[in-house]
């Protein structure tokens, strides 16, 4: 691999299977350990990506996850063609959730995912269009 080349890992996230949700994040956690990233950064990336992956499964019928590894930055891009988020600012508030009871019975739907993703990343941007889908980019500095 050339020195400044970006590593890209691509994952399809199945929206029809709650049981397998999070598989991509498990793989990324393993990859980061193998690539020698610090446990602290590995934990932050994996938690944030897992929240995003779960969101795509429970709110958007699946999507894709891409992880880009540069020398000084790790980026996670989660893209779906779900219903979109009408009011991103409201969705970002702790405790805001539209998850139905059956999702809550599975252990999710506290309205903590998006704020958590923001907390654990260094930069987060949400691009969402109602009826078209949502793309979330998370950036992590690699020191």
């Amino acid at each position: 691999m050339a020195e400044n080349e970006t590593l890209n890992f691509h994952f399809d996230v199945d929206g029809n299977d709650f049981t397998s949700a999070g598989e991509a994040s498990v793989k990324v956690k393993k990859l980061m350990r193998q690539l020698g990233f610090s446990p602290e950064l590995t934990r932050r990336v994996s938690i944030a990506m897992y929240e995003g992956e779960i969101n795509m499964v429970i709110h958007a019928n699946g999507g894709t996850a891409d992880v880009y590894v540069d020398e000084d930055c790790l980026r996670v891009v989660l893209a779906d063609e779900g219903p979109g988020i009408a009011d991103v600012e409201t969705a970002m508030q702790e405790g805001y959730s539209t998850a139905p009871d059956n999702i809550r019975a599975l252990g999710f739907g506290a309205g903590m995912g998006l704020p958590n993703m923001k907390n654990y990343s260094d930069e987060m941007s949400i691009d969402s269009v109602v009826g078209k889908g949502t793309t979330i980019e998370l950036k992590f500095k690699v020191s």
Binding site: G22, S25, P39, Y50, F108, M112, G113
Partner: protein
């Protein structure tokens, strides 16, 4: 506290990961809400839960928690046990309730 001691105090059956029972945990967390675990857990090494699905195992992996105790005699599926085995998470099941499980561990000094 060693995980083997946790198993003893909770009269728990170890379902997988018995080779990791000599690992230490300094605190624990009891919750059925994985959202909360992901948002609020800091360095608790053990999750006590009454929730049974694969996300329990993945959530604890993301949080670097090495042990899950299923309370009230709940038993994980084969698929969950296999997933835990793959990632090296210890799984136990106890007949005790969540309340009593947490109480016993707390009294024994875990997380105090």
């Amino acid at each position: 506290m060693e995980l083997s001691q946790v198993a003893e105090i909770l009269e728990a059956k170890v379902l997988t990961g018995s080779e990791h029972l000599d690992k230490e945990a300094h605190s624990a967390c009891g919750s059925d809400m994985m959202s909360d675990v992901l948002a609020f857990v800091k360095d608790q090494g053990i999750l006590l839960t009454g929730l049974v699905n694969s996300q329990v195992i993945r959530t604890t992996l993301m949080m670097d928690m090495g042990c899950v105790v299923f309370v009230r005699g709940k038993t994980p599926t084969e698929e969950m046990i296999e997933l835990a085995e793959n990632i090296g998470t210890v799984l136990m099941t106890t007949q005790l309730t969540m309340y009593e499980s947490c109480g016993r561990l707390y009294l024994a000094g875990l997380g105090r």
